[in-house]
Structure formats: C-alpha cells, structure tokens
Symmetry: C2
Subunit: 337 residues, 2 copies
C-alpha cells in the first residue's frame, strides 16, 4: 500500500464530519442526514477512498474470506474444484484465499500458519495439512471442512467427497455384466490417496460380487498420470499378462492406457476395454470416446463452501456428504454410441 493512501480520517476531515459518520455512510449502519451523506460520498469519490480491509477486519472480528488449502494447483481436477469453490464463495459474499502446501513459503519468510491466516474458515483438501495441524484447528473450534479426506481418528470434521467406491463398483460391473470381461486390471492413483483407495475397494467389491477371482498382477500404480499409466500398461503387455479390460483410477491415466494399447496394436474396445473415472472435458473427444464415471467435482467445491458457511454461522453441518456420481457410457467399454 502506498504511503499516501487516504484513510477514513481524511474523508472525515474534508467532509467536515466525524469518522463515525463516514463509517455510517460507508456501511449504512445508521441513518445519516441525506445532505451530509451526499457530501461524504462526494469526497470519497474525489479521494478514490477505499476502506482498508485489515482495519475493518480487526474491528469487526470477521475477515469475510474463506481459505482453501491444497497440495498443489495443477491438474484439471483442481480447476473444477476451484471453480465450484469460487462460485460458492462469491454467492455467500466471501473472498477466496488460496494456500498451496506442496509449495511451501520460503523458509523464514513466512511466519504465518497456513491456517487461520485471515480467514473465517478453511476448506482443506486431502493431503494438504498434517494431523497435528488438523487437530489444532479442531480443538480451537476453527471452522474447517475436509474435501476428499476422512478425518483422522477422534477429529470430527465434516467432509464432502464423491461416491468413489460406488462409482468404481458400477463401472467395473458394467464391464463384467454387459461386456463379459473377466480379467480386469485396476490402475491405482497416487499412494495414500483416498480417492484411489475407495475406487480400489469398489473394484474389489465388484469382482467379489460377481464371483471373479482377484489377481494381484492386475493391479498397478498409474499415479493419476498419463505418462506413468502408459509405461505401466506397456509393462503389463511386456510381462505378457493377460487382461481384457482396464479400469483406470482417473481419466488422465486412462489416456495413457489408450496410448499404450494403440501403440501395441491392441484394439479398444474389441481386444481390451478401457474405462476411467472423473469424466474430464476431453473424455468425449478421445478415440474411442471414453466410458467413465462422471464425478461432480465442481459441485463438491460448491457444496463444501456452503457447509463451511453454515459452520461459520454457527449452524450445524452435515458430517458427511457423498456427492452422487454417474456412469457415462461411451465407446471405450464396448458399447455403441
């Protein structure tokens, strides 16, 4: 802030009123004589006066901003999530402060906690805050909503996520029941990532429910990454492992699978069916168009903000919100368009 920025005192002096009056016309918190109000407004305009947020916050004891803590910003996933969060925050009249934890502030430079820093509440995405910090926030009674992460033991923080397990189960069952696939590989996501783990549970559940044996050789780590998924698929092919379908933990890794299979001359879906999870924008443009599970990521962000706002207002929040997913059938599973 340049030193010269005008303050409420400047406005008051020039308008020949007290700062209390200026504050009142600014906020409409009390009736002000229309004539003086007009005078005050005029000098606000002249000075281009903008109230300083920090002072307001200090006096009000509210920041009117919501914090979002993420491990990183990259990836289409976060784009959708942020979109929803932004919409929700705007709706409720909050600003959005974004904190990345994988990108730690230069040591010594930041004396700030990633947490209460100037926010009224926090949206915490999986893998961005450690249990210690979460515990501290919980004990302090600070409003927090968890995204795609179940709370650590004894910490009762509300969570919003998607139906990972259910989605995985129905898409794998589609492969089994409709397309009669029996050797279905699962490409896991990042290690310790809850989404990946729930999806794996759904996969196992589908196998079991349909009397298919579980073959550990068919489970590999695709890391939610197109290139790694491609490599891993090439490996499976090279190892001569027999499989007739692949359930990739997300669409990005499904793309890698598609690429590897095409390069190896396998036909999709005739030889090997491929399905993903997320329903990214490009899923319908792939060759063949990708059958996948639509995850309402933007809605997750939106709903999370709404829950957070409830908590901030001292209302009760849902302890668990599972956003519904949907099977999106295209061609990579073997169905006709």
């Amino acid at each position: 802030m340049p030193a010269s920025r005008p303050t409420i005192a400047d406005v008051a002096r020039i308008s020949k009123v007290s700062i209390a009056t200026v504050s009142r016309v600014l906020n409409g918190t009390a009736p002000v004589d229309e004539e003086t109000a007009a005078r005050v407004r005029a000098t606000i305009e002249t000075l281009s006066y903008v109230p300083q947020a920090a002072a307001r916050i200090l006096a009000n004891r509210r920041t009117d901003t919501i914090g979002m803590v993420l491990p990183e910003i990259g990836g289409a996933f976060f784009q959708h999530l942020l979109q929803g969060v932004e919409t929700g925050a705007s709706e409720a009249g909050y600003d959005l402060l974004i904190h990345t934890t994988r990108n730690p502030h230069k040591l010594g430079t930041s004396r700030r906690s990633p947490a209460e820093h100037n926010t009224d509440g926090l949206l915490v995405f999986t893998n961005s805050l450690d249990t210690r910090e979460l515990t501290r926030l919980y004990k302090a009674g600070f409003p927090v909503i968890l995204l795609h992460q179940t709370p650590p033991k004894d910490i009762e923080l509300p969570i919003v996520t998607v139906e990972n397990q259910h989605g995985a189960r129905i898409i794998v069952e589609h492969l089994i029941k409709v397309h009669n696939r029996r050797r279905i590989a699962y490409l896991q996501g990042i290690e310790n990532h809850e989404d990946s783990e729930w999806r794996e549970k759904g996969y196992l559940e589908a196998l079991k429910a349909n009397g298919l044996p579980f073959d550990p050789q068919l489970v590999r780590r695709g890391m939610f990454d197109r290139n790694i998924a491609k490599l891993v698929t090439e490996e499976m092919l090279a190892d001569n492992i027999h499989f007739d379908a692949v359930f990739a933990a997300d669409d990005d890794s499904a793309v890698g699978v598609l690429l590897a299979l095409r390069q190896a001359g396998c036909r999709v879906p005739e030889d090997i069916a491929v399905v993903g999870f997320d329903d990214q924008a490009y899923a319908s443009s792939l060759i063949p168009p990708l059958t996948t599970i639509h995850a309402p990521t933007e809605q997750v962000g939106l709903e999370a903000v709404r829950q957070l706002v409830r908590v901030i207002h001292g209302e009760e929040a849902e302890s668990l919100i599972l956003m519904p997913v949907e099977l999106v059938i295209r061609n990579s599973c073997g169905c006709q368009a």
Copy 2:
C-alpha cells in the same frame, strides 16, 4: 474466528512478560533472553497461539498477499496461469487472494472493491477490470501488473503476455511453406479478447508475407470452445467453402475442428491440416497428435508475480514482457512424427 482465540496479551500474561517481548520472540526482531524466549515459546505452543493476520497487517502496513483478478477460473489455461502465480507468490513469501469478476459478489453483501482489498499489489488478467477501475488504481499508485492485456490509453501499467502474433505467424507460415497450404481458415477466439486479436494479426501477416489473398469467408468465430468450434467447422463444410488447413485460435477449438472433420470423413492432415495454439497437455494425445504453438502460460504467471513484487518493493518493472513461444511440430500439420 471463534471468540476464544488467544491473543498476544494472553501469551504475555501467562509467560509473565510484556506483549512487546512476545512480539519479539515471534518475529525475531530484537534479542530476547533465551530463557524467557523459551518460556514464551512454550506458552505459545500450549495455547496454540497464532498471531492474527489483520492486526499484524494494520501495524505493519503490509498485507504480504498478492491479489489476482480473473474473469473466471474455469479452463485449462487458468489452471496453468494460477499454477505459475502460486509458485511465484510462494517463492516471494506472499499469500494469494483470488478474485473472480464474472461471478460478482452478491449485491450489497460485498462492500469491498475488487482491488486493494487486503493486498499489496494486483495481477489483473484481461477483461476482468474496467478502465475506470484500472485508472483509479493507476492514479493511486497501487502496484498492478496486467496479464495478456495492453493498458488503456495513458495508463502506463506493466504488462506480461506471450508472443501471440509471432506464434501465429510462424505456425501459419509452417502450413504455407512446408505443407504448401493456400486456403487456411482462422478460427477466432472470444470477441475482444486480445490473444485472439494478436493471433489474427499474425495470421494475416503470414498470408500477406507469402502472397496469399485474404478471404473473409475463411475467418470464423470458434470462441476458444470445442463445441462451438465443431459447429462452426460443420458450417464451413456445409457451406461448401474450400479450405485445406485450419489454424484454430487455441487447442480447445482445434479439438472441435478435429471432431467435425473426422465426422465428415475428411482426413487430417491429408485433406485438411489442423493446428492450434497453447500446447495443452492433451495435444500430444489427440488423433492425430496436434501441431501447435507452445505458450508458456505457467511462466507468464511466474514472471508476472516477479514483476509485481519488484513494483511493490518500489523497483522498476519492465513495461512489456513478451514470453517466447515455440512451434511444436506433431502430425496434424502433415509432418511425420
């Protein structure tokens, strides 16, 4: 903030020192007896005390946060931009406050300007702030860097963007010189979007430099959108307009072109070559892999923050930074991989 949040006074009282001393151990701004310092640290730990940012800001007259003003958050483009901005902000020890202007705060709820709200400086993306607001900031001497937008007349704000015109020119020239294309269509982006306009200039420049006539029938509006681009391409086909190449204003619209051409049974690149701009992550996975211009969007974000930090520190910033682009040759232009 819950009412019970501990303050520096609590820490001081319990540690039996003055608040000045607490502040000193917090910030290391003055030597403190090791024993008392340890005592203070212990009670900070016990209370889970976190200094309140607003008070600090007010006393320091610095917010240590950078604001980013965007029209919206959606799209892969913003994802990369934000990624760079986040990295840059972290590097420099700043927090990131994000403001979307297309999503206006509920009327009456927000009394805040999208501008100086608690930031030390602003990154303003094209089409997010009107000239009036920009002028006000400029006159107030508030640190602002423009992204992908030339400043309004008489407003000398630094700008960072990419070599739009140059990139467009070289990719169109590649089509002309290497692949001997003569009827090259241009799919514009959004109306009044500077990127689209500069790219159009580069396109025209390439035609002219190579003695190709300009045919207005070959210029259509693809809106940076896959679906709209698809429709527009179908229209051109239906209108029986002859063209042997398409330069789409971005990769998203190039995907739409690819889709429309495939559906119509045109071979790419044999019958019609297609190229894009941006080099999104998926560009290499398209069929055929897309020849495009690599735009260093993440670097734009990073560089913009660096410039902004210079301005905040009272140093001189570059008035114009054009980040270099690169022609990425894949197969959709007609080259062999």
